[in-house]
Each structure stands twice: as C-alpha cells, then as structure tokens.
Symmetry: C2
Subunit: 625 residues, 2 copies
C-alpha cells in the first residue's frame, strides 16, 4: 500500500469512527462525543497505520502492544476503534452505557480490549509505566505501551510522577499522546493551545517530545514512526487538535463537554462527515510471536524460622516472607516508595534485586504501576507507610474495576508508632481498604502469622491489603499454624468467659495482657485474633458473641470504618452488644505505651471496659448495657 | 550592621541552632538531625538575615511572612530556629517528642509558629499557594510565604500541581527553597546533586530559579534578596547542601536518615561545632503594620426560594446556597477542580468571581490551598466529584492536625449518577470523611436542607464534608425548617411502626416511597432523614430503635464505613438488630433507578427487607433476626 493509499484508508476509517461516535452517544443520550472526535486521527493512525501491533483475536497475547485510554471519557472513540477493527458490531455499539453492556460509560474490565479501567483522570500513564517496566525488565518483550492523555488531565500531579519514573527507568517502550484540544470540562485548560508549554515541561522531565498536527494523518504517522526509533527515553506526542473535530457546530466550541447531540443535530453532523463506508475495516499489524522470558519454575520456599521468645516486628517479617516466598511464587514483584528500610521491602530488594523497583516518594504512580504489572501477569507487592496509602487512594479505588491482583502493604500502623507523631500514623487505612469490593484486609500480630498471611496474599487472586506494625511484638504462633483468609484464632477460651475481646495486630497483645490481669482476679474472657479483618470469620464471631453475650473490639485505628464497625456489622442482626475501643482522641507524639493508654486501647482500658460491662450486666443483662 | 558583621552573626546563630538540633534529638532518642542540619544556613539566613518579616510576639499578625516546613521531619531545626529567636527555651527544646509537648515529632498546630501540620511530604507548597493567594487576591497584603522543601519530596506529583497553579496565579509572593542534600531515606534521590535537573523542571513550569550554595551565608542572602525583587512569577531557591552538615561523621553519609546520635557521638559532634554562644539571639524584621483589605461587613443573605413541586438537584442547591450566603459570611471563598459546571460551584463563581479560584484538575493542590486559605482566616468551600476526594485524602487527613476550617463538597455521590459508571461514582467518601476526628459529614436529601446545611457548615468551626447528589430530587422541607449539625428528621412516624428505616440523600426518597407502598399493605415504618451522618443524633436513633425493635439503614455508598456502620456503632450497645442495605455489588453503567435496584437500595429492596424482618420477628423476636 502506498503512503497515499494508506492515508486514504485511514481517512475512510476516521469517517467511520466519527460516525460510530456520533451515533452511539446520540443513542445513549450521554457520553463525551467531542472529546472523542478530537483524538480520532491520533488513534486511527496508531492502530491502522502500521504502528500498533496487536492480535485482535488474542487480546491476552503477551507480546501485544498495549493501549490505555487515560482520558477514559473518550470511551466512544475507544469502542468505535475496535468496531473499525471488526471486533465490536454496530449493534453492540448501540448498547453503549446500557445496564449490563460491556461498553460502559468509561472503560472497565468488562470490555476485553481495555487494559485497565480509566475515567478518573491522570491514572493511565502510571499503568503504562507498569506495563512498560514489565516488557523491559521482566518479560523481556518488545511490545510497546501507548497511553492517550487529555490536555486537562496533565494538571494532575500523578502525571508528573509517572513522567519522572518513566525516564528513570529509561522506558523507550512507552509512548504518550497528549490530545491538546484546548478545552476542558468548563472552559479553556491551563495552557490552551500553547503546545510549547507542554513541550517545555515534558522535555524538561527528560522525555523526547514530538509536536504534531493531530488531524494530519501524514504528520501523525510520521511522528509515530519517529517515536518507534527513539532509544533510552520515553516519547510524548503533543498533538494540536480540535475538540469536536469534524462537525462544524461542535468544533472548538465551549459548552459541549460531556454533552450529546439531539437526533436532528446528529443527522446534521452525520451529513457533514461525507460518505461513510460502513463496511471498511482497519488492519492491525500482528505482534512478533515471542514469549516472555522464562521465569524460573515455581520452586520450594524454605520454612520461616523465628527463635521463640524473641520479639520481631511484623513489618520485618513481611520483608523476610517476601524474600523467602519468591521462589515458590516467581510472579512476585516488589515495589516501594523510598521507605524500603522502614517497610522492610529492602529485604526482598536485596535478595532479588531484579524483581524490585524503587518507586521513590511518588505513591500515586507506584499504585498505578503496580496495577499495570498485575495486568501483565505479575503479583506486585507494593509497600509504604499505611498512612501514605491515603495518597494513592483514587488509584486504589479505581484498581478494583480492572480485575486487579495487587498486594498493598502498609507499615507503621496506628498510634503505636510513637514519637514520630500523627503525620506518620496510619489510622484510616483499614477504613479505606475495607471499602474495596471483594478486597481482603489482613492484620497480623506476630512474625509467623505475617509469614503465612503474605503467602495467603500471594495465592489469593485479587486485591489484598496487609497492615504491619512498627514495633517488635512477641511470637504467638508456631510454624505449624495456618491462617486462611477469612479465618480467626481463638487464643483464650473457657466455658465461663464473660465477654469476648476481638483484637488484631498490636492490640491483640494488649488483649492477651488484659486477659492475664483479669484472670488473676477470676474474670475470664475470650480473646480472638481477627487477623483477617475482611472477609471476617462471621461464624466464629457469632458463636463467641452468643456464648459470652458481650463483644469488645480493640484496635489501633480510628473507630470509623475500623475493626469495631466491621465486627459490629457482622453481628448487627444478633442483638448482642458490641463495644468498640479505638483511637478516638487527637493523636500526638509520645511513647507507644503512653499513646495506647491515652487512646484507651491498652490493656488497662480493656480491663476497665470488661469490668464496666460486667457491672452493667449484673444490673440487668446485656439489654441494659 | 555591615555585611561582614551580619554574616558573623548568622554563623553564630547557625552554630547555636546546630547545637540545639543535636542536643534535642539525642535527648529524645529519635528524630531527624541530619535532615535538619542541611537546612540550617538556608533558614538562619531567611529568618535572621533581614529577609523574613514576622512579629514573634504576634504569630497571628495578618501581615507576618509565613514559613512552612514542607519537609516536616526537619522539625528539630524548626523548633531550634524559634529558640534562636528567643521564643522557645532550651528546657522546652528538651521536651521534643515527649507526650504532651508542643514540640511534636513533626510540626502540628500544637506549636504556635507552625502555619500548618506537615510530615506527610509534598504538602507544604500547596498550603503556601493558599496563603499566597490570600495575600495577593483577598487580603491585599505584602506578606510573603516561604516553603522549605526536601529534594526527595519533589518526587511527589502534588508538588508539580502547586508549581503550575502558583504560576497561573502569578504568585511572586511565594518563595520555595529546595534543600538538595542528595540523600533520601534509604539512599540517593532521583537526581542526587544534579541541581540543573531541578532547575530545568522548575523553570519549565514557569518559576524563577536561583541556584545557591546552601551553606554559604553570603550566597544564600544574595539569593533571597534577588528573590524579593522578582515580579509576576514565584521564585525557587535550589540549594546544594550536605545532609548532616557540620558534623564530619554525619556529613553526606548514607544510613543516617531519621537516626539520632548516642550520647558520646553527640559530645563528639558538639565538639566539632566550635564554641557555641548559647546567649546569642537572632533578630527578625517586623512586618509593616497593615491590615487586610476590609471585607464587606457581614450583611443579610436573602432566604432561599424553591417553587414547591419542582425537583432540584442538591448539587445545584449547593451552588445557590454558597452564592446566596456570601454576604452573610464574607470570609467565604470558593474553589473547584475544573468541574464547577457539575458541582455547581459555578453559580458562586459567577456571582462572586473575586472570591472564586479555579484550581483545575489538581485536587491535591486544591485541598492544600484550601487549608492555607482557612489558616489565613477564610472559610473555603472546595468542591469536586465525591469520588475524586479520594485523590486528595492524604491532604485531608493531614488537615485535621492543623486546626482546620475547610468545607469539602463532593457531588455525584453513589451509583445513582447512572450512565457515567463506577469511575465517577463516589462510593467511599462517607467512609473517608468519617475517619476525620471531629469531622462533620452532612448529606442533604433536598434543596432546602442543602441550603440550610451549607449555612451550618459555614458557621461551624472545623472540617465539614457535604455530599450532594447528581439527580434532581423533590423538595421535602419548607423554608421554616432548621437542620442543626448532629440532628435528624423523623419524616414518618406512628405508634405502630414495625421498623425504622434510616436513610439520607437519594435513598431517603426511596425510603419514603417504600413507606407508601408498605402502608398501603398496612405495614407502618418509621422513616428518618439522617442528614447529619457525623455527628449523628444518637438519642433519636436509640429512641426509634427501641420503639420499633428493628433498624434498617439504606445508603448509596459501600457498606464499609458508611451510614449503616455509623448507625450500627451508635446503637451497638442496645442489642437491637441493625440491617444495612448498601451498594455491595460491583457497580456499572446504567440508569439510576436500574442501579438502585441492582444494588438492593431501592424502594423495592427496602419493602422486601422490611417484610423479611417482620416474617423473622414473627418466628421468634429480634434475637431470631
């Protein structure tokens, strides 16, 4: 095919794609036609201009190029592209945004060609970083990752995190395309059509930049070809485009963001497109038939060994576990946000440096890259302080719509970190991670349960959060003990238990100490290690609640969304009273034990609460509590 | 004082400051001496070199220059500076990191010279943007805002959000100082001592950059003087420094981050400082005696008017309310993240453009700037989609340690937004904001209660979150109704209520519809509008729970951390069963009513749940539920 023929073919395809965009959004009555229309040539050239390599019949092919729509609201274009490729029918397109359709308002895992769910802006580039890291450093494959970016979303700081890490890791296999259509949701963007403003910033961050007329097929194809030849640095196409391109009354007009056309307007718009050949289909180059670099076969991991009687911090056990387990789970990858000597990700990094990526203090990009890695078949364990996961929670929230398999680890949980003070205390992390649908929340209290739970996390397909503790805690379990997700351990139990104390992590040790104090006074309580906060062992909790008549939860976390509310929710229909001890006072610096006392979550507080419950119960039974 | 004398004086002060840093951290046994030592000259020159203007006896003076330690772990330096200024005693310094001391591990509002709590990195510059916006656009004061930044934290995307907005708003009154000491927590930073790497990036973003030898007093003073003369653009000093400067065995050594010296090491280090004059005190220039531009006196706001029978979206009522209330609360400022035509912040922006700041799609900087504005006496109302507050939750979490007065508004709550799909649905926002200690969470169901609650938020001193709904909802209340924080409204009530349904926002309308359906079948239920989700009206809930024996909560939000768990927690000691209906299935695109049905939070689901409860109760009372 000559260049002229290729251009004519892409023009034809562009018309077809515009037709689909207009028809499907008009039919849906909502969506973003104008944001889609500006990127049509950019995407048609990429897919159908001999640049992109992808086997449409095998979207999971390990050497397919990857395409991420960071501007997820351009989903009509995304779906129309795959229609032009022959993989989505015209009828299917008309289900856009309907309940049950894989063509959701913004792309999700329901659509097989979506590499990840997008729609919260500024996240696609980080996912691309993860996929590009995988190609270059893990799978050793030549596939490229392309990310379509909106100009408005370049205001998100997360983008600049990704830009800097992509250069650090020399990701020449990552290509971004900024669709500079000048208009955001409610007016002009920060830089309008000042392409040089983007060029200055992006190239200062070390990327190769290419300015493009985003509606010139020849210009765009030339830029992509140039991008393919760049080595050692990632490439950004910065394309001048018109929002609403192709329809005179939409082009470059404010007030048309996220608005669809009426039926008559649509007819008018279609008329402007000229003749549309609905039978034309674009050809996508096939990828080289290469397989990922062979991972070592899954081998054996040694058993964990901890001398009894020697306290160990669960954060350290996490590092030990990851390093130990890698031979058994060779898909494991470690990432950390420049605190590996605190989270103890460094133990893994030292043992398996080729499987570890330092992601610096840029948690949003780290979370996005982890998602990208898991979408390429890896099991990323990604760690920082529990408090700092709040920084990346939009990325974490969005991950759940991408069929994810990321393991998040948060160290330095709770006030028990002590002197560093509230800025470093993870006091909201359980609440945050509990909101993830099907998300698992694990909170070990000793080194051995940590070791087992890290393995459970590696085995479990899905999102898992592991909460670790700064201070060393005594061993509670032997190597024979198992810790299934959704289980719990009843550590103290008698026939005469007057209450059940449910705890996890550092407060479990307080609960055990309280048990000892109380038993010296003849008061017996049941003590449960709720190492699996979500899902939780409803049956065991119900049994204990009914047996004792009073439940007391204790946690080094705020009350809202924490263990108390989780347990309360699980038992809410029982009619058994549940009392929550949690960090409810403004936290501050101090010694760990001082702070546990101050917050009313120490052994002393537990003893008091148990006694108060008993006193009330004597007066009139649980209903009087 | 000649230049030479000034330099000698600063050298003396620098020695004293280093002395304090070493002594206080050694005594505390934790903290960050080396990160403090690198910035000593940078800060001593600023405060005591005739640059900074501040009345130490009146830290609240409106025209004081502002100093924010974004690298909050350099708190020993921060406290030592104020000791050198004569405002903190040597004895007080020795309480560093002790329980109850205002000298916390990282600065918090407990220390009167801290403009804001810091310690989670990459947040100080945004707070500075807010303070500089206030000076230039609201108070019309010449004070400057200085922000000390670490080199490691420049990896946070939030920094680049602030850099871009500071240029957009031409904040020449904002000065950043990057302490490039090369070493992060676990090793070298991304760019080490490559000062040009920072210069390229920061100047590409439009800042004036000045490279400095951060240990040369003459050089540093000259740079500050140059900064004072810059117009129209903010200024960044990029300073080459040595981590641990002044102590031979700490200087530029890895492995000393966040580590303190032993007693003997400390003696050795002090010996290296030379003679320390503990009586020397630094002089700080006083600010000009200027008052903020007079705000209009608090006037009257018109009453809200909504024609009965005409549904109105609460998000629109929010915009109306803010525009209407400004005359009564002239400290109000509006901020929005480029979605003002969706949150309806645009109604305020159009009515009072001089009080509105467009913050573009950069939620982290927006949250930080709002904190800065409230710390300068303003009442910022800051809005975006509820879902996107997850993006700034580290900034929101940190705000609670700064004695804040920010009003966050999240629109597009829940699955009821419909076709746009999960990326745009706020399903975690209640859980997030409920974790804020003393935080208020409001969730109005109609236009009039929205109007009243916006006023309550403006009046309340503290952090408030207001959740609004995309779709129009019918009016429920008349203009005479009042909605105190911590209250609720019992909308349906009889002596024979078989259950109480607690709802808020969109599900309240479903609950009212369910009431109607049920009452036609002779089943009566109580219906409560829980517009104040936090604090909640425990007394009213208890009364209703005891009167009916069954509580059913319904919310367009995930179960974890939501209304159900809040109500369950409040009633946990009662022994009355609480059932939660919440969005617990993977959300998707669809029509609002389809999605309410799909999630089991529609009128149909409520009717079913009530009947199921009654059937079970007939079999054996609440305990059998």
């Amino acid at each position: 095919m000559s260049d002229q023929e290729q251009i004519r073919k892409i023009e034809q395809l562009a018309r077809l794609i515009r037709y689909h965009i207009l028809v499907m959004t008009t039919r849906a009555g909502s969506g973003h036609p104008t944001s889609s229309l500006s990127s049509v040539e950019l995407m048609a050239c990429l897919l159908f201009g001999g640049i992109f390599r992808f086997d449409p019949d095998r979207p999971g092919h390990p050497n397919n190029d990857r395409l991420i729509f960071s501007k997820g609201h351009a989903s009509p274009l995304f779906y129309a592209l795959w229609a032009a490729a022959g993989k989505v029918s015209g009828e299917e397109l008309l289900t856009f945004r309907e309940f049950g359709s894989p063509l959701e308002g913004h792309p999700t895992a329901a659509f097989p060609y979506a590499e990840a769910a997008t729609g919260s802006l500024g996240q696609g580039l980080a996912i691309g970083v993860g996929m590009a890291l995988n190609a270059k450093y893990l799978d050793d494959l030549p596939y490229r990752t392309y990310v379509l970016l909106g100009d408005s979303e370049m205001a998100e700081g997360s983008q600049w995190e990704s830009l800097q890490l992509a250069v650090h890791y020399k990701l020449e296999n990552l290509v971004g395309i900024i669709d500079v259509n000048r208009l955001g949701q409610r007016g002009e963007t920060l830089y309008g059509w000042d392409l040089a403003a983007y060029e200055r910033r992006v190239s200062a961050f070390g990327w190769k930049t290419l300015l493009v007329d985003g509606h010139s097929i020849a210009d765009t194809l030339a830029a992509y070809r140039e991008a393919l030849a760049v080595r050692e640095v990632p490439v950004m196409l910065i394309a001048k485009t018109l929002k609403g391109k192709g329809v005179s009354f939409l082009e470059n007009r404010n007030g048309w963001h996220g608005k669809t056309l009426g039926r008559e307007e649509c007819e008018r718009a279609l008329g402007e497109l000229g003749e549309v050949d609905r039978s034309v289909r674009g050809e996508i180059l096939r990828p080289e038939e290469r397989r990922p670099k062979a991972a070592p076969p899954a081998g054996k991991a040694p058993e964990p060994v901890y001398p009894p009687g020697e306290p160990v911090a669960t954060r350290r056990a996490y590092g030990n576990a990851l390093a130990r387990l890698y031979p058994r789970y060779p898909a494991i990858v470690g990432l950390d946000g420049e605190v590996g000597n605190s989270t103890y990700a460094e133990i893994f990094a030292k043992a398996h440096p080729e499987r570890f990526f330092e992601m610096y203090i840029a948690e949003q990009n780290m979370a996005g890259a982890a998602l990208g890695l898991c979408r390429r078949g890896k099991i990323p364990f990604v760690s920082t302080f529990a408090a700092f996961w709040t920084r990346a929670f939009d990325q974490i929230r969005m991950a759940q719509y991408s069929a994810p398999n990321v393991k998040y680890v948060g160290s330095h949980a709770g006030v028990s970190i002590g002197e560093d003070g509230p800025s470093q205390m993870g006091l909201e992390d359980i609440a945050l991670f509990r909101t993830i649908l099907n998300g698992v929340v694990l909170y070990p209290a000793d080194a051995l349960s940590t070791e087992r739970l890290v393995e459970e996390a590696a085995r479990h397909e899905g999102m898992v959060y592991i909460r670790t503790t700064r201070m060393a805690t005594p061993l509670l379990y032997g190597p024979e003990e198992r810790f299934p997700i959704g289980g719990c351990k009843v550590l103290r139990r008698s026939e005469k238990d007057a209450a059940v104390v449910v705890a996890a992590g550092v407060t479990l040790h307080e609960a055990l100490a309280a048990h000892e104090i109380l038993s010296r006074e003849g008061i017996l309580v049941r003590v449960i290690d709720l190492y699996s906060v979500q899902p939780l062992d409803e049956a065991a909790l119900r049994e204990a609640a009914l047996a004792t008549g009073v439940v007391i939860t204790v946690e080094d976390h705020h009350a809202a969304g924490g263990i108390g509310e989780a347990v309360g929710g699980a038992l809410a229909s029982l009619g058994v009273p549940v009392f929550s001890l949690a960090a409810v006072r403004m936290p501050k610096s101090g010694k760990p034990q001082e702070l546990l006392d101050y917050e009313g979550i120490s052994r002393t507080a537990i003893v008091q609460k148990v006694k108060a419950c008993l006193a009330l119960a004597r007066k009139g039974g649980p209903q009087a509590l």
